[in-house]
Amino acid sequence: MSETELQNAGARRVRYLAVFIGLAAAFVLLTVWNINSGSVHISVGDIARIIFLREGDDTQMGIVWKLRLPRIIAAAVLGGGLALSGFLMQTFFGNPIAGPFVLGISSGSKLFVAIVMIVALRFVSYISSWMMVVAAFAGALIAMGFVLLAARSIRQMSMLLVAGIMISYICSAITEFLITFARDSDIVNLHSWSQGSFSGTKWDDVRLFTVIILVCFAVVFLMSKPIGAYQMGEAYAQSMGVNVKRFRVVLILMSSLIAGCVTAFAGPISFVGIAVPHLIKMLLKTAKPLLVIPASFLGGAVFCLFCDYIARTAFSPVELSISTVTALFGAPVVIGMLIRRHGERG
């Protein structure tokens, strides 16, 4: 290898390392910050004692273990999942502004979860988290099915997004309709959830979604190689030996499962799926899946921890819905990206 090539390779490695270290540091910082702030302030020393030694005063123990910690894990894992799901959909459609929210996948999940909650609660007294996940996954797949149908006849990428947004509106309309005619006690649950929130996460839920999302993450990470090939275009991917048909099915299933799982536990959350992978690519200056997949996951976690912190504390004791905050920070990123891309072409 020539000297300049070595230098460039070295510079690139330093950049990758810096991004990962920066994200990890932000993650730790935001986690601590999230635990110690809120209506009850807990010092860092107390936090360490409560978490690692499991000792401290009962109220603080309760707040950390029952409220803040599960919520933080939810924000981190589900946020990472959202970014991952967004990245997969962008890869699949070859479209940088595809994502679970804009394509209506989240709304499909929301609709199915709402149906299960309202209808099933009439017959059974308790709905397990598993059922929610299954319903959300089914809803995600069905919404994805409609998007794919639209994609077959619509070649233009902006029109595909319009189709997704329409699907999203239809699903939301039906969900609203169901909520309007549901019994009051159900609505209370449904309303905050349907706006998107990490609050009220239980440890049982944490276990379930952490397992699902982390397994998905591992599978996706191991798919880095074919994803990289697929980024070059279908025909080239196939000529490199990728079984494109099978690959596409797996991609759809993984992205829908992740999006559905996130929606089942936190409701629909906007813009994380688009903004985070884009920011990560800009930081890394590469689109190589081997780097972008873990960095996006970590980035999604950091982004959602940050947004959840704002949602929780900005107008305390009133809590904002998480989507309000993610949209506030995510949408400008997306707009900036669109302007940049358009500028490049024009």
């Binding site: 275009g233 030996g241 689109a287």
Partner: protein, 372 residues
Amino acid sequence: MGDYYFRTSDLAVGYGGRTLIRDIDVRLRAGEILTLIGPNGSGKSTILKTITKHLAAIRGDSFIADASVRGASYRDLSKKLAVVLTERIKGELLTCFDVVATGRYPYTNTLGLLSPEDRDKVREAMERVHAFELAERDFTAISDGQRQRVLLARAICQEPEIIVLDEPTSFLDIRHKLELLSILRSMAKERGITVIMSLHEIDLAQKISDKIMCVRGETISHFGTPDEIFREEIIGDLYDLENGSFNIAFGSVELPKPSGEPDTFVISGCGSGIPVFRRLQKEERPFYAGILYKNDIDYQIARCLAAGVVAEEPFRPIGDKAYTEALTLMKRCKSVIVAGVPIGDCNRRLADLIKEAETLGLTPEGGDVSLS
């Protein structure tokens, strides 16, 4: 099928179950170059896509070293066959090195990390197409010619036995066309890589290919060596050349002859007539040319452009028949152009013809008569 490295048998191609072209039977030895020629939309790409398994064959199959393409897994196929496609590469934030490195895909580990040997092969492939200096450049920021070379390097470092290229020379200027084709040529001859491609430039196809396939209509109209295929009627039929013609000797394409009654007679020889013929053709003045030996370079172009050519067999003195014919035609004209022709023992009678023209008062316009 013993000797043949690549063959198709009873292959039928098309889209959505509808047959476009059938009865494709091609046989190639290792290291041969097959070029598909034919008008736009004739199905060249469809055939190529079927060979590369991007499209399912409607009937029949192709065989690489006697292994069925239809039955091969994509993974196995990728170690034998590489492609250069017309569609744009979608990837973002890729350097040219990255693009070429994707050719190593079939050989890298589960995560797709490049080994030092892989890097060497990428470098080698890029040097082979004179593109290594582009390694660090953004793939979207290079010229068309550079892009085709990088894509060819990508195909080369996939270490295929056969490369399929769909119109690799489109959008390239003449220098880059020649460069690309000579790289292909040397790869085929030195490494025994079989090349199958489509070309629009039939003149280049004639010169680079070992085999030519004419694609038009429902079947392959012709398949054979360039010598067999490059005949005026075959090429004329293939492309419906009602306007203009294809010159076999030069592989050049000529615009149609000017129509109407000729009023100019051109006397030339040894290439001096070509610029005159072209000028008259551009001015849309029909003309006669003569007396030309059939091995004269002027004769080749005159045949395509002149309303009539008076010709004589090579290396013979100009006979009475040709002389009388030339004189008759000349008398119908208003002017005679003498484009400069060396006069020797055989064609002495040309000097008589020129004198005759002066006597008739058909003042020579343009060039001098060089009597030697």
